[in-house]
């Protein structure tokens, strides 16, 4: 066990370093922006005096490094722009302040996060279940109809862009068959049933696409696993076929599946953003795209950093699960 504690500590530390390096890189890149956010805020006519005032208020007159340090401070302790009655507070964790929208970036993100998270988490659960079980079924029926069907589903899944399949699903199930809602998002707190009902198509679409690589991986891994000596031993000792498959075979499949899932996390967020647009749901992707259009740098930096943090965090969890599942990882 101490090995595992040491492993987790090391991973935590590494993740923290990556987060710091990443936030600095993102900050430097995005504050090289040629369009001056203060210019947009100062209105027309923009006298040099007022521009200077706006720059000072938005703390853009500080050096980039100074701005970065205030940003970091804001994340942990919050920050305040300006002073007196005009002061604007941004409570910790403050990921910046959007002057055009007059709201802290953290609030903006938290408002939109449930939409993106609902899509992503639901789809991930579905595709893990769907992908692994289809892969196992394919491996057990190797060469037969079900195997071919699973390989076919996997091929279509790999070859179809998510937005295309999403729109086709809307056309067929939403419009022609009129079975599911065409678009829109209903908050979970408003009506859990409507929430799930509106999300069912996006979930299935994303799950089918992503499940493809899991079907392929599970199938080949399972085939390899079932040929190993210890499986033969288990069979020879009289273990039932379902026991052999579920307890012995599946364990060998889990580690590569967890590895693949860790690599897919970055794509999961991207897939959710594309899906949002297809189904007209206003999530993080919409917030980001709108901010790019209106040159709202604070929101763009905030959303980028926030998604990067999410992925680093999720990768950390995957790493630790990996270490628990496969002791070789944490010892090595």
């Amino acid at each position: 066990m101490p090995d595992l504690v040491w492993f987790v500590t090391r991973r935590l530390f590494a993740a923290l370093l990556v987060m710091l390096a990443l936030s600095l890189a993102v900050y430097l890149v995005f504050y090289a922006i040629p369009a001056d956010p203060a210019h947009l805020a100062c209105g027309k006519p923009c006298t040099p005096d007022r521009l200077e005032q706006a720059r000072h208020f938005m703390q853009l007159d500080q050096s980039t490094l100074q701005q970065y340090l205030s940003f970091l401070k804001g994340v942990f302790a919050g920050r305040t722009f300006g002073d007196g009655t005009a002061a604007v507070h941004c409570n910790a964790p403050c990921f910046g302040y959007s002057f055009p929208l007059a709201r802290p970036v953290t609030t903006l993100i938290l408002d939109r996060l449930p939409v993106t998270a609902s899509i992503a988490i639901g789809a991930a659960i579905l595709w893990l279940l769907f992908g692994v079980s289809l892969g196992v079924i394919a491996a057990l029926n190797r060469g037969h109809f079900l195997d071919r069907l699973a390989i076919g589903v996997a091929l279509v899944g790999v070859s179809t862009p998510s937005f295309l399949l999403g729109l086709l699903a809307i056309l067929v199930f939403g419009f022609w068959l009129n079975m599911v809602p065409v678009n829109g998002y209903v908050p979970f707190t408003e009506s859990p049933v409507d929430w799930a009902w509106h999300l069912i198509t996006p979930w299935i679409v994303l799950a089918i696409l992503q499940a493809a690589s899991y079907i392929r991986l599970t199938r080949s891994q399972m085939l390899e696993e079932l040929n190993l000596d210890y499986i033969t031993t288990a069979r020879a000792k009289g273990a039932g076929e379902s026991r052999v498959v579920l307890t012995h075979g599946l364990r060998g499949v889990l580690v590569p599946v967890v590895t693949l899932f860790g690599l897919d996390l970055g794509g999961l967020l991207g897939g959710a953003i594309l899906t949002e647009k297809v189904f007209s749901m206003q999530g993080l992707g919409d917030l980001l795209i709108t901010a790019v259009g209106s040159l709202d740098v604070a929101v763009v930096v905030g959303v980028t950093l926030f998604s990067a943090f999410l992925i680093i965090l999720a990768n950390l969890v995957v790493d630790i699960v990996h270490g628990v599942l496969d002791p070789r990882v944490s010892h090595g």
């Binding site: 070859s159 862009p161 937005f163 729109l167 690599l263 996390l265 959303v303 992925i311």
Partner: protein, 309 residues
Amino acid sequence: MSSSVAGTVSPTRQAMRRLRRDRSARVGVVLVVGLIVVAAAAPLLVRLAGQDATTYHIDLLDPNRGNAPAGALGGISGTHWFGVEPLTGRDLFSIVVLGLRTSLTIAVVVTVITTVVGTLAGISAAYFGGWYDAVMSRLLDFLFGFPQLVFMIALGIIIPARFPRWLLLILVLSFFGWAGLARLIRNQARSLVAREFVEAARSVGSSGWMVITRELLPNLLGPVLVIATLAIPGYVGTEAALSFLGVGVPPPTPSLGRSISDSIAWVYTGADPWFLLFPGTVLFLAVLGFTLVGDGVRDAFDVRLRRTS
């Protein structure tokens, strides 16, 4: 590697033979070659159809149906082979084939760049090892876990409007794309570096560059080819996704992703599904074709992954 023995066939030729026998790979090759010919000849085909991608044909729209194309199947006719775009009446065939040309060009250029950069980075990391390898591995980890799509969208804000978008797309896709190839090549090359023939080349005083290009590279051609072919459909898809989100190639350059994005409203109401189906099918066929070829090349070259059933 017993190709020196008389009567045996080189591994590359064996692989090509396996590839020719693979039925789904043949389907893929037909699709890919067909689409590349269409894309290359797109301006010619458009002229042959007597159309262009910019002229409005308002007279072909049905104002009673919200300016959807008049007539069946999205307004297909002898002059408009894929019908016309709703709202504008622009020729959809021209838009689709010219859009395909844009997508394939970007995907192929990015694949060439990432293949060269990724291969060199991977081989050099494996060959030199030490701190260089350690730094490279960290960098790859970093690029892997990165929310690439988010970053690609976000970059739109700092790039001035006068900077050509197609060039930006190529640069951004390449920047994130080489990492996957570099990691796979590095792992493959590491097992080669310890082999006798590399040791022998080093002991007779070959420079690092010589060992990399003369000894390591020829032995890695198979994996490089496999990974590069499998990467193309990914870039076609990502380019389309970025254009779909409105941060890809800007109008008036036709783009499959943007057409599909424009079709959303017409799909919701069901007024003109053909506006989705034509560009969508072409995009699907392009990705499918390259995937089939990539799978075939992988099966033919990569012994470990070769189909056993």
